[in-house]
């Protein structure tokens, strides 16, 4: 009971912080920053505490709360931790104080609104991960749009209006189709439960609903499109470079750190388990797009001149691995995908932070303007290099754990198929592995031009460029500690996610077509035409 309250507290704390902010006068910048940082620190501590208390031997939800909310529709305010969201909640909570502390010097305009938006998006992100009820999930999912819209639009770069509208309109289109699918699915579930049955939005009920292949295909297309835009999977990624480039550092950190995990989390929690037969049909396509994301993302990263765009394309490439791991349906691959999500969250957040730090000093994102920072800014360069190596996936870093497990899982699954005559997956896995080499190529090429060679950076001679201040050192040290923790000791987090990964594997592997003998299968026509 008390522990369930702790989870509630993790969820509501950012919202409480937002309301507390309203009481602080807008001019008191330091008070606002302190309040925000402390709230986030408490939340992070609670997340760590919950992580430590999480029992790996229990299948299903822990610390769960389930309260009736809209009883007429069967909507319950239902939240809980399980193996799929545990690490992501931990990641979100952990990044909270880092996001706040990382923006202290960069955000000087409309400070109060800014931290209010940081709190709101934190609330929405934690809520999306914790939600165990489709209605609640959708509510939180869409709530994330508004703070990010304002964050890019108010504190962003020159083309911020274009970028932020593109971001919202792109993602909202996926969401509106998902909304149609949500309504349809819930009505179908009610229909399948028989006359007089109470409607339910609970995930655990929805994954039991038998659906025809046609229905699954439509619903998967709607859910999948929404998630694929959020991941983003090639070719739906075109909003991301604009959003990242124009967003303030904080926006980029949140976007890369947590928001991009929403798409993959949506697939693992809903998209694949709800519609297993459609997933089986679409697996080759998803594999193809995942590999395309890996290879094309890496290729595009190679040719970027803008350092933020560079990290953006590398993100697209890294998230391709997550998708590949999820559709491999191999336990190792699935667990690798989960670790890779967290790892990418940490590494990409770190990279955007260090880029933000240099941008604050030099005010340019042109790669060509920089060089030889290793001599001018040694501490900065060490942190940068470590993050680069983590991004490449050097052993002992989290990137290695994630990518290696995903590729191992993908090869295991592909080899089994290859033996039965289907070599498509094997080719995909080989191509994906080549992405690791491309990744090393572009990251090292980038680091070489950025950190080594002739020493130059705008403002270097005038002394505007100084090395990391203690606040920045603390932020990066915390991030690097987490990255090495996940790289060196992955077995404990993986033990905690194992049962959930097994459950996911089993759900996606089990066909959910209606039994052939059933008199009234839930087809589009019969469900839609039936009285409620």
């Amino acid at each position: 009971m008390d522990e369930a309250l702790m989870l509630q507290l993790v969820l509501w704390l950012p919202l409480a912080g937002l309301f507390a902010l309203l009481l602080v006068p807008a001019g008191a910048g330091d008070a606002i920053r302190r309040l925000s940082l402390w709230t986030m620190l408490v939340q992070a501590a609670l997340c760590v505490w919950l992580y430590l208390r999480f029992d790996p031997a229990v299948a299903g939800l822990q610390f769960a709360t389930r309260m009736p909310w809209i009883e007429d529709w069967g909507v319950f305010f239902s939240i809980g931790l399980d193996g799929t969201n545990l690490l992501l909640v931990l990641l979100t909570g952990f990044l909270g104080p880092i996001v706040v502390a990382g923006s202290f010097s960069a955000i000087t305009k409309d400070v109060k609104l800014f931290y209010a938006m940081v709190f709101l998006i934190q609330f929405a992100m934690i809520g999306t991960f914790l939600a165990q009820d489709l209605f609640v999930f959708y509510l939180f999912w869409e709530t994330m749009l508004i703070p990010m819209f304002l964050m890019i639009g108010i504190w962003g770069g020159e083309r911020r209006i274009y970028a932020t509208l593109k971001f919202v309109l792109y993602t909202a289109f996926g969401s509106i189709l998902m909304l149609a699918a949500v309504i349809w699915l819930v009505l179908a579930a009610q229909q399948a439960a028989g006359p007089g049955a109470a409607p339910s939005f609970a995930f655990e009920d929805l994954v039991k609903v038998p659906l025809t292949r046609e229905a699954q295909t439509w619903l998967f297309a709607a859910f999948g499109l929404s998630f694929a835009i959020k991941v983003p999977i090639f070719p739906l990624h075109t909003w991301l470079p604009d959003a990242h480039v124009e967003a303030p550092t904080t926006g980029s950190v949140i976007l890369a750190g947590v928001l991009l995990k929403m798409g993959t989390y949506g697939f693992i929690k809903l998209g694949f388990p709800l519609f297993p037969d459609a997933t089986a049909t679409f697996t080759p396509l998803i594999m193809l797009l995942a590999v395309a994301s890996i290879v094309i993302g890496a290729g595009l990263a190679l040719v970027q001149d803008d350092i933020k765009k560079f990290i953006t394309y590398s993100s697209i490439s890294h998230l391709g691995y997550v998708m590949l791991g999820l559709v491999s349906l191999n336990l190792i691959g699935i667990q690798g995908a989960i670790v890779q999500m967290v790892s990418h969250g940490l590494v990409a957040a770190g990279l955007f932070l260090v880029i933000g730090m240099i941008y604050e000093r030099c005010h340019t994102r042109e790669l060509a303007a920089y060089g030889g920072l290793a001599q001018a800014l040694p501490a900065y360069s060490v942190a940068f290099m470590l993050l680069t190596l983590a991004s490449i996936g050097l052993p002992t870093t989290s990137g290695f754990t994630g990518e290696f497990l995903v590729l191992l899982g993908a090869f295991n699954a592909a080899w089994a198929r290859h033996l039965s005559g289907d070599s498509f997956a094997l080719v995909a896995a080989v191509l994906a592995a080549s992405g690791v080499i491309l990744g090393a190529l572009y990251m090292l090429r980038f680091a070489a031009r950025f950190l080594f060679g002739p020493t130059r950076a705008p403002g270097l001679e005038q002394g505007h460029v100084h090395d990391l201040v203690p606040r920045e050192k603390a932020i990066l040290a915390a991030l690097l500690a987490a990255i090495f923790w996940l790289g060196l000791f992955p077995d404990e987090p993986m033990r905690k996610t194992e049962l959930a990964a097994r459950q996911y594997q089993q759900l996606v592997a089990t066909s959910r077509l209606p039994a052939a003998t059933a008199a009234a299968p839930a087809t589009l026509a019969t469900v839609a035409g039936a009285p409620r």
């Binding site: 009883e71 509510l139 819209f149 304002l150 309504i183 839609a528 039936a530 409620r532």
Partner: protein
Amino acid sequence: MNRDAFLVGMLPEHFLLAGVVLLIVLSIAAPAGRERGAAALSIAVVAAAAVCAAGLGLQGFAGQPFPGQLSVSPAASLGKAVALALALPVLVRAREEQGDGGPFYPLLLSSLYGLVLMLGSDSFLTLFLGLELMSLPVYTLVLLGTRRTPRAAEAALKYVVLGGAATATLLMGVSLLYGHGGTLAIGAFARALASADPMAVTGAVLVLLAFFVKGALVPFHTWAPDAYEGATVPVTGYMAAVIKAGVLLAALRLVGEAALSQPLVQLLVALPLLSIVWGNLAAMRQPNLRRLMAYSSIAHAGYLFLAFLGAGPGRFQAVLFYLLAYGVMTLLAFAALPAHADEPQRDRIEGPAGLTGLFHRQPFAAIMIGLAMLSLAGIPPLPGFVAKFLVFREVMAAGHTAVAVAGLVGSYLGIYFYLRVIQRMFMTATEVPVQGEAPARGAAVVASVVCLVPAIALVVAPGWVLARI
């Protein structure tokens, strides 16, 4: 006449009528130019009427004060309560715009009286009486804006002419229904909906068309943008929220829980969808908030009439909930809008004044208008989302999956122009201090809070509200 039903059941009507009489006496008695107390009196009367209506509705009071003409039912009382409550923020904000006396208050209360009568009507006679009593004062109310904007006269004329056309259409439809069934009871309408007789169907369709005109559904919407733009802000809010609610609830009273015949289903699919798409597209290019809200209200009329496709009691629930969510958020946008010495500058979307950079001048107003826009766009967790969900759930449950998907995609088109307002307010800086703009006064804050409280209730406890309607 049924005494108990008359005394207790018609309490909301009595309060309003007493208010109208008192207001007229007050304006005669007070020396010209120094009227006082009209706003406070109106607020008290309307609040009392709303509370009575809500009490009657929640307690399930049913009766027939005038059998065959006027009845009181829980559903009708709840509808009255919603419409009357929506008038409160209008009245709170009206004093600074319309003064504390004069014709505004008696006219507005008469219009409300008509609305309430219409929602209780059992025969087309009382329905017509109520509808006209509701509409006629509004024509004059629009005209009151002439003092500030010369275009008000043109707008009012357009409104009168199209309103008159709607009246004529309604009467034509009613006479056909009378010719078919030989009765003026509104039950004839519901029977005509399922009937295959061409005369009955034509009558029903004509009556519905009259409501489409009054509710500003495409292609009968052309009066709305001009009337909304020409009127003063409180009157615009009144038309957008209260009149819309009255029209929709009256149409709902006629349709009831009746099943719809195929031609009517087609009508109720085609025009609302057209309205959603056209309203949302046309709103993108509007120069000021009032015109924008007119097109927004046209699109929302589309969602509301789409809810008629739902079956049984769900229809009423969806429409009433939607009206409440749409009404409070529309009124919130108008309630928070800062006053400006030069009326047309007040709600300009582009340009140096108006909404541009409003957040940097008046953060409270900008945040309130922003919340209203997001809710109207149907973005969670604001009340507009639950309302939209409810409507499309009804539509889909009734078997119109394709219609629901089309409507949702149509609603997506609307996101852009609502966000554009937010973009102008938050993401554009104003260099010069804006001349003539008044700071947010007490009335604007009070009116905003009056809208915000039900909005918060709809967000936090939609289930609690739904269980009661």
